[in-house]
Structure formats: structure tokens, C-alpha cells
Amino acid sequence: MADVKSILATDCGSTTTKAILIEKQRDEYRLVVRGEAPTTVEAPFDDVTVGVINAAREVEELAGRRILDEQGHIIIRKDSAEGEGVDLYLSTSSAGGGLQMTVAGVVKAMSAESAERAALGAGAIIIDVIAVDDGRKDYEKVRRIRELRPDMILCSGGTDGGTVKHLVELAEMIVSADPKPRLGIGVRLPVIYAGNKDAREAVKEVLDERVDLRIVDNLRPTLDRENLGPAREAIHELFLQHVMQQAPGYSKLSKWVSSGIMSTPNAVGKIIQTVAEQMQIDVLAADIGGATTDVFSVFGGTYNRTVSANLGMSYSICNVLAEAGTANISRWAPFDVNEAELRNALRNKMIRPTTIPQTMRDLRIEQAVAREALRLAFEHHKTLARSLKGVQTIRTVGDMMEQTETGRTLVDLMSLSMIIGSGGVLSHAPRRTEAAYMMLDAYQPEGVTMLAVDSIFMMPQLGVLSSVHPEAAAQVFERDCLIKLGSVIAPVGKMKPGEIACSVTIDGVSHNVPFGSLELVPLGPGETRQAAIKPGGKMDIGAGRGRELSAKIEGGAVGVIIDCRGRPLMLPENGPARIEKLREWHAALGLEVQ
């Protein structure tokens, strides 16, 4: 890949196709220009490549050089001729509803959950999780499988050498439903079997000839081990062979690309994993869109992704209202909110999704909704990103005292080094401080954590690039994609209001921040300092209760935020007191209230 000088990458989203042009300038890869055009998977075009060409045409015009030939095809350089064309063309896609899957397992909290993790990690939207013990009657499950029409089913269960009977039952259930895939008439539904290897033949007997069956290694070969790789690869392969071939224009697009088309969330997951690996850190990333919120994390080297399919800022905004409730949304507003006014306003946003807040009050309400959407999606993520359930571990007396258990979440906010926010409400917040503040409230990071936003949402394109040219992907990610907002210093614990919760010394200046307060310390992008952080009382900044920590902190578009509001963050229950506190915090961050 040493000769790659120019790369075009597109992301075909459900509404917009985004193209970026990356070029090698001296010794480093940089983003040159970006273009976009409406996605064209629906009538009258019914061909995704029309949108791709239009987006590439914009890139061509902005870059001032030829990328498309007379037929409108992307020119791939065969020799070292420079001036026109690109060396690599890559693409991701989530158009046409993305990849929709049903997963099945024997035990809900074990194999079905592992199957869910495998499918989510491969970029799917899970439309149902079926398990022998999920509490529904067989006919109800059969009806659900039939009604939902997934793109494919992942069937798992049983450790190798374990149950066979339950797996045959699951296979029989799939046959009973006789499901038809969402796309393509007369096409057999792809089913991936990733369960007990001893049940393969029996399952094959039931399913073969009736569905398009693929058999891969068991995704939970023993209770204490997950092996999600083979199932994820099979999902990706079937996504390319089946779903992509049925979607309009994709068979054409797949001939243009230099490497397989990747589903958008799968690509974002790849770049997050690359970042975590290269920087040797724990990372959390969220992409909040109009309809869904995706959460990605790498903790202790384990990658997880979840998608909250109905938590978003426009189409799904009323589902945030339904799940969070009006009280939880209004608690973040630094003024009184009338419940009826809030409900009608969110409904009107749902039916006219492209409108934007004009007044400061309206903006604050929308950002309050975003906090709840991010929080709920994160809660969902925590429940799935966890250690394996059902594993017998040798526990010491100390473990028992700490009440640790199998199946606990892997999300450890204290070890988390970076949170990356993406999606319109975060990336395009009128002020960067607002993006930092929303993430601070929704995630409540602990210890020292860097907050960042994705400047123009190019993580999907960089994700697919990282699979063929990790160096170029990492350089563009660091220099052009990521906007660092600054480090957050947040001690954990509780104290009396007004007592000094944390003392942070930077450049010889001490910032003594009382409990219940926020302080913003100016520090610009790229500037780093060694800070001495001394928590007050029994507060913990990561070195233990009351213990001092010396940590490297970094500035950014916002600066360094010292958050001494306590963890968990408790807002005053009394309305006027809560509003007063919120106004104080807004002022500390230099934000207007309304």
C-alpha cells in the first residue's frame, strides 16, 4: 500500500451519500475535500450508484481534478499516472434500512446474548431475539419470525458437546415460520448456524433445502469463551452476497470498489477498534442520528456495539419522550418547561423532522432530549457489553464482599480514556462547549477523560479504509476527523455542598473546586500539561479514595473541565433549586441559558 496517493471513499446513508477524497501530502494522508448528494436507492432512480456519482462529481469539482471518466465511472489508476483518478475507491452503506437480523439462541442470557453481540458487532440492527426460555409460547415466536421478515437469521446455542434437542427445536421453529427475506422475491432466507457442533447434522437435516444455510464455528463453544469472529465474518459475507446484491444498484457498486462494501456501523466499529488498539486505551463512541443511536466501546480490548433503533433526534424523538418521560427531559432545562408545550413541540419535530431550533430556549430543550437519548442508549449498551453470564468463577472472600458477579458490565468509566460524540446534535451544536456539556451529563465520565466530536462524520469511510490501509485511516482520523474538546477531570463520590471536592494544579496555579460545581480552565487544542489532582475527602479520581493523582491532561476546542458535581450526578429535586443549579453550571461553562 506504499504507493497509494489518492483515495476516494463514500458512505451511502439512508438519506445522503457522502464522499471524501484523501490524498498523501508530503509524508502524511489528509482529507482534501468532501462532497455529498442525496442517496438514490428509491424510485425514480432505484440505483445507489447515481448518488455515488453525484457525490463524486462534487468532490471532482471541489478538488479541481478529474475522478470520473466519460461514462461516469470512477477512474482507478492502474499505473503511476497522476493528475486524474484515484488509487483506491471504497464504500460503506446503510441505505435501504441497513442490515436487519433476527438472532436465536437456547438460553436468553447466554447463547442468545452472545449471538446478539455477534450480530451487533457485524453492524446489524436486531429486530428480534428468540430464545427457548424467552417466556413466549412457540407459536408466538413463529408468528414473530414470520412477520418481521429479517435479512438473515443467526442461530446459536449449546456449548460444543452440549444440548442437541433444543437446537433442533429452534431449527423446527424457523421451518414452521417459513420466513421470507425482506429483499428479493423467491430468494431463500440466509440462516447462519453457529451453535453446538454436535447438532450440525441434525440442524442441517431440518433446515437444508428450506433456507440458505451456512454453518460456522460455535460462537459460544464453552461457557467461559465467546468466539464471535466466524459468525461475524459469515454475516459480513452474506451481507455482501445477499443483502447488497438485492439492494438497487449494489451489484454494480460492488464491482467498482477496491475492497468489499462494508455496512456503515461495522465500518465505524473498525475505526474505533483501530483507535483503541493503536493508542492502547478504552474508548466509547456514540453516533446519535434522527432515527437511531449507535454506541461503540472497547474496554480492556473487548469490542462491543449496540444500536438503540428507536432513540433519535427526529423520526424517533417521541420514543425518547416515551422512554424517558417528560420529567427526565425537563430536568436538564435551565428554566420551567410546560409539559403540554414540550409534548406538542416534540411531536411537531417528529412530523417535520428537518426543522431546527431558532430560539435559545428551543435549543436547550432539544439538547435536553439529546442528553436523555444518549443516556438511554448508553444504559442499553451497558447491559449488553458485559462479561459472559453463566461462567463459574473462583471467587475470593474479597470478591464476595464486593458483590461482583458474572455478567457484570465491561463499561468502566474510570478506565475510559476517550468519549467520541457524533451525529448532528453533537457535531453541529452551535457551540462546542454545548457538545461537551451534553456528553458530560449523559455519560458522567469518571477520573480523567478526553471528550471529542467527529467533525463531519467521516468515521464510516475511515473504518472501511482502516481495513485496507490502517496508516492512512489513523492519520486522517487524528488530524481531520477528530475534534478534541478537552480533558474532563471528574472525581467520584459525594461530599457536602461547598466543601472542596477537588484541587487541580496546572502550571503552578491551583483550582479548588467545591462539591456541586463546575469549572472551565482554558487550554487550547494540542496543548498538554501534567496536572496534580488532589481529591477532597473520600472522593476518588482514579488513584483510590482521597489519593492524589498526577495525570497528563490535554486542552481542546473547549478547554479542561473540572466536574465536581459528584458521581452519580444528582440534580436537586426541588424545581427552583434545580434551575438555579443548572444556571450556575451554564454560567461556569460560559453558556447562555435562554
Binding site: V168, S176, E205, S316, A322, N344, I351, I356, D362
Partner: protein, 373 residues
């Protein structure tokens, strides 16, 4: 010029309307091209295969799977009736008898040697598709359905709940600003589609549902009243399958919003006519909006054809669709080309408009919709 939010809603006194009527599975089409159909004419029919119900024979008889299969008295493909013996075992020289009967009527489709289960496919259920609108069959999709075509008035709403209904159109109020209250709902509105103005009260909706009103069309509704009427909250904007007796269609939005004067006038001109309505709404890729269709015998000449303007220009009539001037009507007076910083701090493209009360305001272009001039 510039772009504004246009939901693409059609409000037309006369247009050609084509409706695809498709079966969920392949079946039989009952009409031919050129046939005249009424809204309730069945145009296609099919049988949806029943689901398979499992009888756990091995477990019921306390046998190993292979023993259960050996004890079966039925074969795959055989029809069975509820109460029929599926398997029988005898022990102690035939003195003790155990039997397993099927609780279901259907066809034996699956005999599992691995589990000792018998799968019985329940009888299929007939499914019919009606024409939905009075019109003519324009196209037949072999084994799948038809396209019915009519000439008529078409009003698309912005949001609705409830499915397809037919009835005669009746006016419940006499102005687009009036709220449809329970006093406005009369006994003679049974089986009708009732038109209101700026809103509808919960009591009116409940009364309408109680006397069998087929549909209610109004400008807006207060969100909590909608939730109370449905009995549940709406999370995602995909509707049409609610189990409610009266379909509800909103032409403007939530809160209290007068119905657009021309929409109201058009609906009023259709009083007494047969209309077909559907509340189904989907606000995502492949947008579906609720609709009111009134097939007409002849093209009316008292109303001229309206087309919804898509281009924003000085003089264009607009409605503001977000606070702080939500619901207000006005006329574009300036279209500054450069993005402007608005109160929220965002830098966006805006327009200047003169509202109906004479006030001049600046509004983001994304926050207006174009209305017919």
C-alpha cells in the same frame, strides 16, 4: 431562491389517483383490466398458510425420540383432526395403554427424529384485498393484485392514526378555526367521515368512536388527547395499525392549528360525497402520509387545479413550522444569500417574511413550509 421544508403534501381538487392493491402472498386476482370497482369490491384473494403447532409426543408419552417416532400412527402430509390419536404405546402385554392426541386440526408437516416432536400445520386463512376507492382497474399484477385508478380530489394529511375507512364526508364545523367538540358530533354522523377545524377534543373523539364515525379530519390535536384516545403513547412515527374504531387524520400538526383555509374549502366542497381515508403514516425513507380521497364523476370546473409550489422566492406564501412563530402564515420578503447567525447561535440560511399581522420576522429556511399562493 433556496430550499424550504416541503412535506410534499398534495391538496388537489382533481387529479388522477392510482392505488396499488397487493396481496401479502401470491393468490388469485378476481377482477380484470377495465372493470369498474367500488371501494368495498374484493379485487384479490389468497390463503395464508397457518403456522405449525408442535405436539411434543416424546415428552407426553415419556419416550425417547426414536421410540416416539416408532409409536406414531400418522405420516407426514396426513390431515388430522383435533382429538385424533397421533401416537399410542402399550405395555404390560398390552394391558396399559398411553396415547397422545393432537389438540389441533391441520396437516402433519414435520416429524422430528431428533426431538420426537410432530409439527402440525394449521389450516390456512383466507385474506382478501378490497379496491379501497371507487374506480377502474387500470392494471393487473398477475397473482399479486391490481392497480385501481380514479379521478378525484386528494388531500394528504401530515399525520394520522387508524387504517383504511370509507364513508360519506360530513362537515362538523363551519370554519377552519373552529374546534370539533362533542356537541358537533351528531347521530347522523354514524358511518361518516367528519371534518373539523383547528382541533378536536378528546370527548368529541370518544363520542365519534362510540356512534361509529368512520373518520375524523382536523387541523391538529393536543398530544395528550391523542395518547388518551389511543390508550398508549406513540414512539416512532409509523402508524396505521392501531386498533381504533375511528381513523384520525391531522392536516397541520400538534397543538391547536387552524386547518389551511384551502384544504378546508376543498373538503367542504366535497360534503356528502363518498370518500376513502387512511391514517397510515410513515415519516422515514419511503414516506407515507395519511390521505382523504374523494372519487369524482366529472372533472369539476369551479375549482382550478392547485399545485404545491416547491420554489422559495420573494412573494412565496409560507407557514412557519417551528417556534417562535409556529403556525403563523406569511409572505417571503427577502432571501439573503449568506448564512446568518440566529438566536440559538447556529449559522444557517434564513429568509425574511412579513406575517399576516404585519410583523416582519427572520426565520431559518428549514423552518418554513411553502403553501399554495
Amino acid at each position: 431562491m433556496g430550499t424550504a421544508y416541503t412535506p410534499g403534501l398534495k391538496v388537489s381538487p382533481g387529479t388522477v389517483i392510482r392505488k396499488q392493491r397487493r396481496l401479502p402472498l401470491k393468490g388469485k386476482v378476481l377482477v380484470g383490466v377495465g372493470d369498474r370497482v367500488a371501494a368495498d369490491t374484493v379485487v384479490a384473494r389468497t390463503d395464508i398458510p397457518g403456522i405449525i403447532q408442535t405436539v411434543k409426543v416424546a415428552e407426553i408419552l415419556g419416550l425417547e425420540p426414536h421410540e416416539a417416532v416408532a409409536a406414531l400412527q400418522v405420516k407426514e402430509g396426513e390431515e388430522v383432526a383435533a382429538g385424533q390419536i397421533l401416537a399410542e404405546t402399550r405395555s404390560f402385554f398390552g394391558l396399559l395403554r398411553s396415547e397422545c392426541k393432537t389438540p389441533f386440526t391441520g396437516t402433519v408437516e414435520l416429524i422430528s427424529h431428533a426431538t420426537g416432536h410432530v409439527g402440525i400445520r394449521l389450516p390456512s386463512k383466507p385474506v382478501e384485498v378490497s379496491a379501497y376507492i371507487n374506480g377502474t382497474v387500470a392494471e393487473v399484477m398477475e397473482d399479486e393484485g391490481v392497480v385501481v385508478e380514479t379521478y378525484g380530489a386528494l388531500v394528504q394529511g401530515i399525520f394520522g392514526v387508524g387504517g383504511e375507512r370509507m364513508g360519506k364526508l360530513a362537515m362538523g364545523v363551519d370554519s377552519p378555526e373552529a374546534v370539533l367538540t362533542d356537541d358537533c358530533i351528531k347521530d347522523e354522523h354514524a358511518e361518516a367521515v367528519v371534518i373539523g377545524g383547528a382541533g378536536v377534543t378528546l370527548a368529541a373523539l370518544r363520542k365519534a368512536a362510540g356512534i361509529g364515525v368512520r373518520g375524523v379530519v382536523v387541523g391538529a390535536i393536543v398530544d395528550t388527547d391523542l395518547v388518551a384516545y389511543l390508550g398508549h403513547d406513540i414512539g416512532v412515527a409509523i402508524t396505521g395499525h392501531e386498533d381504533i374504531p375511528t381513523t384520525l387524520i391531522l392536516t397541520e400538526g400538534f397543538g391547536s392549528l387552524a386547518m389551511a383555509a384551502r384544504t378546508f374549502a376543498l373538503l367542504k366542497s366535497l360534503e356528502g360525497r363518498d370518500v376513502s381515508i387512511n391514517g397510515a403514516t410513515q415519516i422515514r425513507a419511503g414516506v407515507i402520509r395519511p390521505e382523504i380521497i374523494a372519487p369524482l364523476d366529472v372533472r369539476p370546473d369551479e375549482l382550478k387545479e392547485w399545485t404545491q409550489g416547491q420554489v422559495l422566492d420573494v412573494g412565496t406564501h409560507i407557514r412557519v413550522i417551528r417556534e417562535p412563530h409556529f403556525g403563523r402564515l406569511g409572505e417571503v420578503t427577502k432571501l439573503p444569500p449568506e448564512p446568518v447567525r440566529i438566536e440559538s447561535g447556529a449559522v444557517v440560511r434564513v429568509l425574511e417574511a412579513k406575517l399576516a399581522d404585519g410583523q416582519t420576522v427572520i426565520v431559518p429556511r428549514a423552518n418554513v413550509e411553502i403553501i399554495e399562493g
